[in-house]
């Protein structure tokens, strides 16, 4: 019983992180139709930024979000204008190849800049506390809380603000959005900025919990695809639900299937992904867009 | 090869009870989410017939075709072809049994030449592994050329199919459907986007083939086309069978007129 509640809590905490990790990926896909295979690399960059700020300036990873978010927003904004804009609404194959190339380039750039030695961010509060007989690692609990907070604000932003409404309009019907006077390119650039910033923030928050290295990205990209398949495209509640499901599944597999460490999280999520796609190619929540645009 | 037929017209009432339907659907249903695209439709095509399938846009005609040709899993009912239950068969299996179809949105292999499109659409029923490891045999090529000739697109044989005009693609697709020498052809709006002279050609070809013993099931919005060719017509509306009968009966049917022209 203890083991069960512990696994459940660990799974939910992990799931909270996954939810915030996937948001940027899922929104870019949902709004622009771009499957960003370089997603994990932006997470990696966020983690390295947090590491650098911590190592050289002593800034706490969570405090560093104040710097990382605007910086990476700018990066995302510029990236959208220069590169992603060229592949928006293009065939998926093209999107995949370009973002695949970006992912290879970024990972190897990181390898050149930071070498492949794993880096760690050793915060003072890396311990854990007990509550109701269950262990809560402090960092992961903060991540979970921060994830909920960020998702809540993003939700409000999308629902209430004018800009947020424009983004949702662009996601639903580009042509109509254009007709009613939405500047699609600006909306896209802002969306990309928000998404990249969010992803980097997730990486920064992750930095105290795991080693940072140049090739840490792809497993996160894969998990992002799985969560999107689970929870649907570009929807915050879906991301939360998909993230929690994947987190709990991973921890349960690690806890209850003999001889499998947490390292196999990727394999778990891969199997889950293929199962979902094979059983329901449109995703569990019907959220994945039909990709074969075989319009008559 | 050509089957003699007294007046050159298809038998008008094939309902002789001793005759087995060639293709039959019983209480076929297909839902998309909550939408009943095909709802409890009973359906039979007898050997040698030309049967029409009409109905307003979105009434489920194409979906019914997809069900009959096994491209869509059906949610209820049973489909038999040549007396065999094919409800769970895969499309290539019914194709090998002798069912060919064309598509409303034409499906040709655009990066292949017209001739190659034809060659690869041959009858796969008795194709051995050894056959598959060799280029198409001369006999297949002969048949392909004959059919291209028959459809008057022989001069395009070495063009990429993607370069053909819409009407030419429809003819090519009909040719591809004929390649395996099927027993029944399901044509989905074979005349849409085709110019009037070509429509006459298609009509003529269908008649000729029918006299040679081929059975047809046609989806059409072109009522004259249906009236000229078909011995029996089914009318679908909102996924349900609204009426069935000879073209004359159908054209005078109140419900049908309502469905087409009413509110």
């Amino acid at each position: 019983m203890d083991q069960l509640s512990q696994a459940l809590v660990s799974g939910l905490l992990l799931g909270g992180f996954y939810a915030i990790m996937v948001l940027g990926f899922s929104v870019i896909w949902g709004v622009m139709g771009v499957i960003n295979l370089a997603h994990g690399e932006f997470l990696m960059i966020g983690a390295y930024l947090a590491w650098g700020l911590f190592r050289f300036f002593g800034i706490d990873p969570f405090a560093s979000l104040a710097l990382i978010l605007p910086l990476m927003f700018l990066v995302g904004y510029l990236l959208q204008i220069t590169l992603i804009n060229r592949i928006v609404e293009r065939p998926h194959l093209m999107t995949l190849l370009v973002t695949f190339g970006v992912s290879i380039a970024l990972a190897n750039l990181a390898k050149i800049v930071f070498t492949s030695d794993p880096r760690n961010v050793a915060v003072a509060y890396s311990g854990s506390f007990q509550f109701a007989g269950v262990t809560f690692p402090i960092v992961k609990t903060i991540i979970f809380a921060a994830a909920l907070l960020i998702m809540g604000s993003l939700h409000l932003f999308l629902q209430r603000s004018r800009l947020g409404k424009s983004i949702r309009a662009a996601a639903q019907n580009k042509t109509a959005a254009r007709i009613v006077g939405v500047d699609i390119n600006r909306v896209y650039a802002i969306t990309a900025g928000i998404c990249i910033a969010l992803t980097a923030a997730a990486g920064a928050m992750l930095s105290p919990t795991q080693a940072i290295f140049p090739f840490m990205g792809p497993p996160f990209t894969l998990k992002a695809v799985t969560i999107t398949a689970l929870g649907g495209l570009g929807r915050i509640p879906g991301a939360l639900m998909g993230g929690l499901v994947l987190g709990v599944t991973e921890i349960f597999v690690a806890t209850y299937v003999a001889g499998i460490g947490t390292n196999l999280g990727v394999a778990t999520s891969f199997i889950l992904l293929v199962l979902i796609l094979v059983v329901r190619p449109q995703g569990l929540m019907g959220g994945l867009r039909p990709v074969d645009a075989e319009a008559d | 090869m050509a089957i003699e037929n007294a007046n050159g017209l298809p038998p008008s009432t094939p309902m002789a009870s001793d005759q087995q339907p060639l293709l039959e659907g019983r209480t076929v249903s297909k839902y998309f989410g909550g939408l009943a695209a095909v709802n409890n439709v009973d359906f039979a095509v007898y050997p040698g017939e030309i049967v029409g399938l009409i109905g307003p846009n979105g009434s489920g005609k194409t979906t019914l075709f997809d069900c009959l040709s096994r491209l869509q899993k059906i949610d209820g009912g049973k489909i038999t072809f040549k007396g065999r239950d094919v409800t769970r068969a895969r499309p290539y299996q019914v194709a090998r049994m002798g069912l060919s179809r064309t598509f409303q949105s034409v499906r040709v292999y655009r990066k292949m030449t017209v001739l190659r499109n034809m060659l690869i659409s041959h009858q796969w029923r008795n194709t051995s592994l050894l056959h598959m490891l060799r280029p198409s045999p001369a006999s297949t090529a002969r048949r392909a050329h004959q059919l291209l000739d028959f459809l008057q697109i022989e001069h395009l044989a070495h063009e990429d199919a993607g370069h053909l005009s819409g009407g030419q693609r429809r003819l090519l697709e009909i040719g591809m459907a004929l390649m395996p020498d099927p027993e029944i052809l399901l044509l989905d709006e074979a005349t849409s986007g085709v110019n009037p002279t070509l429509i006459e050609t298609i009509k003529d070809r269908i008649r000729t083939l029918n006299q040679q013993g081929k059975t047809f099931l046609l989806i059409e919005h072109n009522i004259n086309f249906i009236a000229d060719l078909c011995s029996r017509v089914y009318v679908l509306n909102y996924g349900e069978k609204l009426a069935e009968g000879t073209p004359q009966e159908i054209l005078q049917n109140e419900a049908v007129i309502d469905a087409y022209f009413g509110a």
Partner: protein
């Protein structure tokens, strides 16, 4: 080709053929027996090459190029001809490499008498083909990007699985193979494998099987509806491609004498395969070998001038090729499965 060009009513097509009319006969000639004859002649020359008294480095370079050509041709069978863009094809390379290493080192727990290279090599291929069967049954049902992503997932997942299966695979530390230096032997073996694979692709492309693969690429639903057992054909193509990729992986492990998860289950190897095929011409017989040689030369240029930047440059190169040579590259993939693809690409070429 002698007929008048048909009226292009839809305007969907960019008419590549019309733009380079003089090349069309060359293409069709090379796809036929003339191409094979030239290829066999080239193989003969390559077989004589070591007799000109070359250095062992030249032999190593030769076998490395042969490896790339073989990989590109294999990838092209599934990614180019069948149209299933496999982002994880390196997984078969890795499986082959590991099977080779495990068999010849008699790795712990598994086999006591170690296998020789010649028994292990076909086993590498067979294992990869078997793996392709198991993985292809679910993934080949996926369409477009979902297949690509699922295969990328397979690659990443296998890397982790191999990393944690330490008793069998040596985990992250990897496996050491017995060092046997035989440059001339390696050269001829890879030459033979390459010769076989490219000739096989040439053969497949002419056969009804190959044409059915192209039909599947162009319109899978149509192919199935016209009597082609698409599942069977896709799996067969996938298994053939995996078999030879596994063989190459086994050979590579043997030649390299050391493998670890990060060295063989690596995305960049897939990127190489994709780029080589694209650069040369997807779905063609001779394009991928040409592209492989070009990429090898380019990489060496980058490697010697940019040194550790070269993988970064590889990624950038992929982006540039896709963005700025969409006709030369994607144009050949053109209308794969979705009719709007070619139109979109054409529009892309015009607008930007």
């Amino acid at each position: 080709m002698t007929t008048a060009p048909p009226a292009d009513k839809n305007g969907n097509e960019t008419g590549k053929k019309a733009r380079f009319p003089s090349l069309a006969p060359v293409h069709s000639l090379l796809a036929g027996w003339a191409g094979l004859a030239l290829w066999l002649l080239l193989l003969l020359l390559l077989a004589l090459y070591p007799y000109t008294g070359v250095s062992s480095l030249a032999l190593l370079v030769g076998s490395q190029i042969f490896v790339l050509v073989t990989l590109a041709s294999n990838w092209n069978l599934i990614g180019g001809m069948t149209g299933y863009v496999d982002f994880g094809h390196a997984v078969f390379f890795g499986v082959g490499a590991y099977i080779m290493a495990i068999l010849v080192t008699g790795a712990p727990l598994l086999i006591s008498p170690q296998w020789g290279f010649w028994q292990a090599l076909p086993a590498s291929g067979a294992a990869a083909a078997l793996f392709a069967l198991l993985i292809g049954l679910p993934t080949l049902r996926l369409k477009g990007p979902y297949f690509s992503i699922a295969m990328l997932g397979t690659l990443v997942a296998m890397r982790e699985i191999v990393r944690v299966s330490r008793p069998i695979t040596g985990g992250g530390i990897g496996l050491n193979l017995p060092p046997v230096l035989n440059r001339i032997g390696d050269y001829y073996l890879m030459l033979a494998i390459m010769g076989l694979v490219v000739s096989l692709i040439w053969w497949i492309q002419r056969s009804e099987f190959g044409q059915s693969l192209i039909a599947i690429r162009e319109d899978e639903v149509g192919a199935e509806m016209r009597g082609i057992n698409t599942t069977l054909h896709k799996i067969a193509a996938f298994m053939i491609a995996a078999f030879f990729t596994g063989i190459v992986g086994g050979f590579w492990a043997w030649q390299n004498t050391f493998i670890d998860p990060d060295g063989v289950f690596v995305e960049t190897r897939t990127v190489e395969m994709v780029m080589m095929s694209m650069l040369g011409g997807l779905g063609t017989v001779w394009g991928p070998p040409l592209g492989a040689v070009a990429i090898y030369l380019l990489q060496n240029l980058l490697w010697s001038n940019l040194f550790e930047l070269h993988l970064l440059a590889l990624g950038v190169l992929l982006v540039l090729i896709v963005l700025f040579m969409p006709e030369g590259i994607l144009g050949t993939l053109g209308d794969r499965s979705s009719t709007s693809l070619g139109r979109l690409l054409a529009r892309f070429g015009r607008n930007r």
